[in-house]
Subunit: 198 residues, 4 copies
């Protein structure tokens, strides 16, 4: 099976996930700025956060499949497994938002984030074992960012038991880690181990 079809289908699913989250943003109940802030202030923040996560996965996902031209059935299902976890983002984001960062929903959101991160790690594993993935290791290196993300998510879940909003900080840190630093160390990383820039 050509990886291009798998990419096209995944792109479709990711485009829908990233967009339908806005359907969970219910309009403010009143014509005043205060209504927007009360109802949608937190919603907009969590929407932005999940939007960035899905954007990161889309970007990484695309880099992943540029190295391998063909995939087998196991990669296909590992990919659907990842899409399943990502498809739950609108659901867990919405719960965390409606309960205004209460403890359990914020933990469950972290579990969803970890689930997707592990699914991604499994997907990388299934690709690595393909005979056609020759340049894979040298291109992607040790993927320390992927592993560090899982650690950060776990720390976030732990901090939720103290104060839920404390747990959100590591979640945000992961998003920033994928977004910002790659920007700065772009050239350096590309020269060192040819890791593709997110």
């Amino acid at each position: 099976m050509k990886s291009s079809r798998l990419e096209a289908f995944s792109d479709g699913v990711l485009a829908i996930i990233i967009t339908i989250m806005v359907l969970e943003l219910h309009g403010p109940e009143g014509p005043h700025l205060q209504n927007l802030w009360d109802k949608a202030g937190l919603s907009l923040f969590t929407y932005l956060l999940s939007f960035v996560y899905v954007g990161i996965y889309w970007s990484n996902h695309h880099h992943l499949f540029q190295v391998v031209p063909h995939v087998d059935g196991l990669v296909l299902w590992a990919n659907l497994h990842l899409l399943f976890w990502l498809s739950l983002y609108p659901f867990t984001t919405s719960w965390m938002d409606e309960e205004r960062l209460a403890r359990t929903p914020t933990i469950i959101f972290g579990v969803n984030l970890i689930g997707a991160a592990i699914a991604y790690w499994l997907l990388v594993g299934t690709i690595r074992r393909l005979p056609t993935s020759g340049h894979f290791d040298e291109v992607f290196g040790a993927d320390w960012k992927g592993r560090l993300s899982i650690v950060f998510y776990a720390v976030g879940i732990g901090l939720c038991f103290i104060k839920p909003w404390l747990g959100v900080l590591p979640y945000v840190a992961v998003a920033l880690m994928w977004l910002i630093p790659d920007r700065r160390v772009e050239r350096w990383l590309q020269q060192r181990d040819e890791m593709p820039v997110v």
Copy 2:
């Protein structure tokens, strides 16, 4: 008409079906884990089940059209007929879930599953009669899995009359049949009759 366009459109519809089902997952009504379990425990299970079904159809659908480069009007409508049955999955899944596996909704879900399976079988028939489907029979063989699925769905519907949750077992069995065994007998099947792996 090139089959690639039909595939692209079908991919779009399947990507949307697989994703909008998450919109039917209403957030729990409260900040506790118990609320999640009460409200969304069953939802998550039925969502996962339907997600796997659509994933299986996407995978099979793709294999189907790799053999034939061109299609005619009859194939096009047989394909839309299949998409129609699949597009009802969110609707029947949601009803079965909201009535917590009551008898009638669980039967209707099974009817939807059978409808899609028959529509798929008809689609295969319309492709088989195309002049360009030369290698079709040798590639797909007797499609015993497709026929067995219809039997399992029918058994599931029958068992619903005893206990609805009993009927769900064969439904799950079909999903597992397409998911797991192909994993193990992959090499054997490919050598024997070159059946593409799901």
Copy 3:
């Protein structure tokens, strides 16, 4: 601008329109077959009807752009104009369905159908004037079906003033006209004036 991109975008929009209509199908309020029939019987019929319409437009739309390799800005906006009318189908279908085929909603549904038919006719006009549309006339001929559809929709709207369900008959007739006869006269039409089969 290459017509292939316009097709891809239109395919995306049509795939979404055809699928989100199922979100308007609210689950029955109760676990009995009667609940399904009361609540969703009519919904399923109107959903099927609109599903077929969008399927027809997708099929025709695709044939249309196979003849012309490039399009200009006017074609692009004529195409968006058509997509706008089609995107209202879920809205007007839902109203007609919720008011159980009351007079005004059924008329408005017919107006929507006519609006899309006229938008399609305008789109054909903008394509016809392109310098690259050399074979257009001989391929599509006089498009009597497109014009007949508008007449049927108008008759349907007229009949709604007597009995709304009477008006639905011509609406259904148009769907059947595009679906069934082409099946039968496929070979004859192709030989006579090379009109592509829906």
Copy 4:
């Protein structure tokens, strides 16, 4: 990274944004034309307006990426930034509509419009700095329309403080500016500075 993939993903997101807005159009509460007018008259107008905006962005976005064959990580994120602002259109459109053009929602809608316009302007900037964007300046010229749009949006927001419906006029003017004049001056502009026609 090939720009064609970025285009395909953006097309998917834009197709979804343009279509899900119709889900915010709740059906009228009653079977009479008056119900449609009361409930959906304004909705249909704001839906049409946002539909045109997204259509304009899709058209411009496509022209933008025809000039550059490859993009880097910064362009990718500038593009996601634009998609984020556009994905809020259904949300702000719906609020403005439900509060029937009250002052604050209409201003917030304008802020959303300006946000998207600035995001587009930033995206153009990130493309302009690419080494592969050789013909960019001569193709797109000074982009006076992009800058004029931002001014019009700002004027609209200002007029909202007097009367909200006054503010809507410049919003509509921007849509018309992109839609109509290019139609008329098409040939003249193409000869002068080869600016692609919207």
